[in-house]
């Protein structure tokens, strides 16, 4: 690995003088989980096998288009670990050839990988995990987060609901851990922005299939009854990351009320329908390359790979340390078709970003909403801010 680093430095020096010579090679690894395609309530929402990595592939192409003018050549090495396979071993293997690794891993696996690679200097990008703790108590100096957090998503939604004057929420929470975490975030949002949770209901996951031949008939009877007798509310907010009931709620609540959260109006980092701020060109490039539309995870991986390309072009270098320092430094920003430059929160390496509110067909709004002010960046009205952060980077 030392030899590899030396090689990179050498090439980096050569490239600054002339780029007619051999291009600087910049290796990017992608580490994900194989066969993790979770089952969703709607067939339409079923993620593709290459969800995430497809975005990284496009960004590598974009980087290489720029790289040909600078004498830089990007490669992407993909690795999927199977159930029971050791993420640390796979990551260490990838790190032998790649200075940068984009990870779509569960929080625990990501932490193990980041600790194992710390001394190597490998820079990790968390493209998948939205857990708060990875940016708070469990934050790491070698992990940059392009995925938003639950609190950012909840705040983005909450700002819009409050702007809309839908301040009385009926909160329905699933029975799985991640549903509860999202509900925690939504409660925090309600407190911050002055909404009121008029009642909380738990939707117990009693097992059962998501696909059945007569599902609709049953759901149509169950959901009105489940939401019957609630105190007066403006909007039903569902916390159902596990995809057990959320999508069953719209049009089926006892009272005619809109649904938001895990179904209905959903906060996401990206959506296939996002076409503002020049996004159409990228959506077209993505479709051409992958023959499908672009998901939020694709965008989070695209952004990670573009951050690497942005930093290598600005520093005109492939040197890992130099590039890493630049990304973490005060002058770094990246454009990602969201109408504003994206920068890193220096206290926990979370990417600041606008969050889209989407209904599955259209972008309904983009948060932060007008009027939510901040002394540094309005993007910091989304999620945990510097003064509240428990992160100590190490």
């Amino acid at each position: 690995m030392f030899r590899w680093l030396l090689g990179l430095i050498g090439l980096g020096l050569a490239a600054t003088s002339t780029f007619a010579a051999e291009p600087v090679q910049i290796g990017v690894g992608y580490l994900g989980v194989a066969g993790s395609a979770r089952s969703t309530l709607s067939l339409v929402d079923q993620p593709a096998d290459n969800d995430g990595v497809a975005g990284a592939r496009l960004a590598i192409e974009d980087n290489n288009t720029t790289g040909k003018f600078l004498g830089q050549r990007f490669t992407l090495e993909e690795r999927r670990i199977r159930e029971g396979e050791d993420a640390v071993q796979a990551a260490t293997d990838l790190a032998a050839r790649n200075g940068f690794i984009i990870a779509d891993l569960p929080a625990d696996a990501l932490l193990k990988v980041s600790d194992a690679l710390r001394d190597r200097g490998t820079l990790l990008f968390n493209a998948g995990a939205i857990d708060e703790r990875l940016r708070e108590a469990d934050c790491r100096a070698n992990v940059i987060h392009t995925a938003p957090t639950r609190a950012m998503l909840a705040d983005a939604l909450g700002q819009y609901l409050v702007w809309k004057q839908w301040k009385r929420w009926l909160l329905v929470v699933g029975s799985h851990d991640e549903d509860k975490l999202f509900a925690d975030a939504l409660r925090r949002t309600a407190t911050r922005f002055g909404a009121k949770i008029v009642q909380e209901k738990i939707f117990e996951d009693k097992g059962g299939a998501r696909r059945t031949d007569s599902g609709v008939t049953l759901i149509q009877r169950q959901m009105p009854v489940f939401t019957q007798g609630a105190p007066a509310y403006d909007v039903l907010v569902a916390a159902d990351e596990s995809e057990v009931f959320g999508a069953y709620l719209p049009y089926r609540t006892w009272d005619p009320r809109p649904v938001a959260g895990s179904a209905g109006l959903v906060p996401r980092s990206w959506d296939a329908s996002q076409d503002q701020w020049g996004a159409v060109q990228m959506q077209n490039r993505f479709f051409k390359l992958n023959s499908r539309r672009m998901s939020a995870l694709d965008m989070q991986a695209w952004t990670a790979a573009r951050m690497i390309g942005e930093a290598t072009s600005r520093t005109n270098s492939g040197d890992l340390k130099k590039v890493t320092d630049f990304i973490k430094g005060p002058d770094f920003s990246v454009a990602a078709f969201k109408g504003t430059k994206l920068t890193l929160r220096d206290w926990n390496l979370q990417l600041r970003q606008p969050i889209l509110l989407v209904d599955g067909r259209m972008v309904v709004s983009v948060s932060p909403q007008e009027g939510f002010l901040h002394q540094v960046s309005e993007l910091d009205t989304l999620g945990y801010d510097r003064p509240e952060s428990k992160c100590k980077l190490k």
């Binding site: 974009d62 288009t65 720029t66 003018f69 600078l70 020049g278 060109q281 990228m282 077209n284 490039r285 573009r306 942005e310 072009s313 600005r314 920003s333 990246v334 454009a335 109408g339 504003t340 430059k341 960046s377 309005e378 993007l379």
Partner: protein
Amino acid sequence: MQVEVRKQMSHMWRVGLLSGLVLAAAAAPAHAFIAYVSNEKSNTVSVIDTDTWTVTKTIKVGQRPRGIDFTRDGKFVMVAVGDDDTIQMIDAKTQTVVDSLPSGPDPELFAQDAAGKTLYVANENDNTVTVIDLEKRTRLGDIQVGVEPEGMTISPDGKTLINTSETTNMAHFIDTASRQIVANVLVAARPRFAEFKHDASEVWVSSEIGGTVSIIDPKKHEVVGKVSFEIPGLRKEAIQPVGIGMTRDDKTAFVALGPANRVAVVDVATRKVTKYLLVGQRVWHMAFTPDEKYLLTTNGVSNDVSVIDVAAQKVIKTIQVGELPWGIAIAP
């Protein structure tokens, strides 16, 4: 003589200043000009009479019209209709679409050479600049550039074409004779528009996301300066420079600041902003009247055009046009 002047002033093509001096000299009394505004969402071009400041006609064009300019002879208005993958030609006399040019996919902005014979088109969708023979209206070839090419300008001597690419964040300097890239200059994020000083000593490139204008020495191919913007009470992210207009004496530049809803007045010598003019919402592009008395800006979100009195540096009028007005060209 007119031809001579035209040649000298060839670089003013984009803002429609072509033969302005001639007109200013020949037609001493206040002259009514005609402005053409592309409305990105309406799929129309609004025609504005600058005497009455009213819309006199709305021309139906193809889908998503953006870049717009006159042919050198003033007979046609060319408008890039991105979603139809072509550039349409509007007959300036009949004010109807009469022909189209073979651009690449999703044309956005374009530039033509001094003689008006060759057109260079930035195609956002496939990282190329298409070269078109304007007389034969045929495609001559493509030049590979960075990701999402957009801004286009030609040096006053016609020898260098400059294209900016939005995701690559570069200004590509292209030799028009060989059609080869001779230099690539990194600028701040999402470069959208490029403009030469009339004396050819500098190229100004606006960066929408970077929030600055980079000033490039076209001989050394280096960024030699920057124009920064700061508006009290306005968040920094809202300052997104796009269109640039420069007075003929190269003393004053106007920079459209997008969602900041302002046009910055910049002293070219010191590269400092002297004033911010409040215009409509999401101001995109601009064009001077040939006598340079007025500067018209397109305001995307408020669906109007602001008229700036150039000498007084004041907004004097707002004209309602179609939905999401984007580009503007004024008849010579």
